[in-house]
């Protein structure tokens, strides 16, 4: 499979794919799988009834990764895909997803990803999803992922979701169920600029005893962009959950941050902290006193914050 420079750049931006990796992979371009490959331990199978794939990781699989990036290059193309990930008991794997849109035309390019993730007993999964958009000023780039994740007994899942550039409009919903001694960590990093809009709604149900969850959101809103972040932790048993949302606001941007805690057990320990503020003048002055220009200082602060 040969990819053009444009396609390679998109794949590098969303999945750090500079060369094609070993192991299981599925690359979806403008609604079609252009490359699909299973590995001995990770099966990638097309769904029979609707667009999308099943990714089945055999129990006990360790030190393997599966890459499932999506790219859109046809202006005006609307893509809808259903993906199911089953991470077998005791496995320990990395899932690299992500969507890159190049829209040079005037249409609305849009990708709606509906994901179901099941991390079986005692398994560990790290999931990385990057969003990236590029192209001319007239086309719109929209990404609306929705994910339902189940973290079974003693399993661990870490989801890192990053959207730094070029996506005009995004609405993300993430719903999670965490069972006994399961542990879920969600890290969201978001930068919006221009007139972009981004919404993220996370609901984590801590349904098992001694389940734990942590949500870390770091976002930067520049220019006239708008962001809304909602995170709800619902503790149904003895559990521990923490939400931390930190935002830097610049220009005429607007940020709304709504953490919610729901305890349905007296043994639930749930906490949240939320902060929105501009870059502190002291921070700029400090970095400038080390020789950076004001712009370099702002860039340094933002890139550290969104690391």
């Amino acid at each position: 499979m040969e990819f053009s420079k444009l396609e390679k750049d998109l794949l590098a931006a969303v999945a750090d794919l500079h060369t094609l990796p070993q192991g299981a992979i599925n690359i979806r371009k403008d609604g079609q799988a252009v490359l699909r490959r299973s590995s001995p331990n990770i099966e990638v199978i097309g769904k029979a009834d609707r667009p999308g794939i099943d990714i089945i990781v055999k129990p006990g699989t360790t030190n393997e990764a599966v890459h499932v990036p999506v790219i859109l290059t046809n202006s005006g193309f609307k893509d809808l895909v259903y993906n199911t990930f089953v991470i077998g008991e005791g496995a320990d794997v990395l899932v690299v997803a992500g969507c890159g849109i190049h829209n040079q035309g005037t249409g609305v390019s849009r990708h709606d990803g509906v994901h179901e993730i099941i991390v079986k007993k005692g398994a560990r999964m790290r999931y990385v999803e990057k969003h990236y958009g590029e192209g001319g000023p007239d086309g719109k780039r929209i990404l609306n992922p929705s994910t339902v994740i189940t973290v079974e007994e003693g399993a661990y899942a870490e989801m890192e979701m990053v959207q730094i550039k070029g996506v005009d409009d995004t609405r993300r919903t993430t719903t999670a169920y965490v069972y006994d001694q399961g542990n879920l960590k969600i890290i969201e990093k978001l930068l919006t600029h221009g007139n972009q809009e981004a919404e993220s709604e996370i609901e984590i149900n801590l349904v098992g005893t001694d389940s734990t969850a942590q949500v870390i959101s770091r976002s930067v809103a520049q220019d006239g962009s708008r962001q809304e972040f909602k995170a709800a932790l619902i503790g149904k048993e003895r559990c521990n959950g923490h939400v931390e949302c930190d935002a830097i606001i610049m220009g005429n941007a607007q940020i709304r941050s709504v953490p919610e805690l729901v305890a349905e057990s007296a043994e639930a320990i749930l906490t949240h902290e939320a902060a929105i503020g501009k870059i502190a003048g002291e921070q700029l002055i400090k970095l400038m006193s080390l020789g950076l220009t004001e712009k370099e200082a702002v860039d340094t602060i933002l890139s550290g914050f969104l690391r």
């Binding site: 921070q283 400090k286 400038m288 080390l290």
Partner: protein, 248 residues
């Protein structure tokens, strides 16, 4: 040489009224010397340092570095001219790592030097290089990292604003010896330390006493230390009701 000519500074106080912070300060500071600036709280010490760094622009007067008038230069330009300032209360940065800020302070710093500067301020490099400069660090730790940046920069004009604050007693002695060794008699640089520390003041080449926004006294430690020592003793007696420890 760093020279302040008739420098005055007014800052907006509460209610928008101008408050006189510095009044007609004249100072000539020479290379090869370690200067201490001391004096009561609110006397203008930190403001004077910020005027030198370009953080505050004086309402009147001039700042000259090696004969060049730098009064109108911004912070970045002054940093490039070789002025470095270690903050009294350094700001925190979520996500920025100790190693990164050290390399911003001195871009060509190699790993051996970087580790050495952290050890100089009493921090174990293994534990700190990839630490984030956010709320996870204590005030004392962030202060030491600030001093390490200044040591790494090795700038021609180095201003340290209470470097000993928040640093434990064992490290203070080491810090004083590093600073004195580096700057006393070093013809390349001028070092200015804002301090109240009774171990630090006597080893500096000169002590400048700043109070109510102007230079009250200036001279060698032999000349100035007896004057301020008595003052410190009086103040401590006043505050603690008579018992004075650590001031001989």
């Amino acid at each position: 040489m760093l020279e302040l000519r008739n420098v005055s500074l007014n800052l907006d106080g509460t209610n928008g009224a101008g408050k006189e912070i510095l009044r007609n300060v004249n100072l000539k500071l020479e290379r090869g010397k370690l200067y201490a600036i001391t004096g009561p709280n609110g006397g203008g010490k930190t403001s004077l340092a910020k005027v030198i760094m370009g953080i505050y622009t004086p309402s009147e007067g001039q700042v000259l570095l090696d004969g060049e008038d730098i009064t109108c230069l911004g912070i970045t330009e002054r940093a490039h001219r070789g002025i470095a300032y270690g903050f009294q209360q350094p700001p925190r940065f979520k996500g920025l790592l100790v190693e990164e800020i050290m390399k911003i302070a001195r871009p060509n710093l190699d790993t051996v030097q970087l580790r050495g500067y952290l050890r100089d301020v009493g921090l174990c490099p293994e534990d700190y290089l990839d630490r984030d400069l956010g709320p996870g660090l204590s005030g004392g730790e962030i202060k030491r990292i600030e001093v390490a940046q200044l040591l790494a920069r090795n700038a021609p004009v180095t201003i340290l604003d209470e470097p000993e604050a928040g640093v434990d007693l064992w490290t203070i002695q080491k810090l004083i010896s590093i600073i004195t060794k580096r700057y006393k008699g070093n013809s390349q640089g001028i070092a200015i330390v804002i301090t109240h520390n009774e171990q630090f003041l006597p080893v500096c080449d000169e002590i400048i006493l700043l109070a109510e926004g102007s230079v009250q006294e200036r001279g060698t430690p032999e000349q100035i230390w007896p004057l301020i020592r008595d003052d410190i003793v009086c103040k401590m007696k006043g505050q603690c009701g008579g018992s004075v420890y650590g001031v001989q």
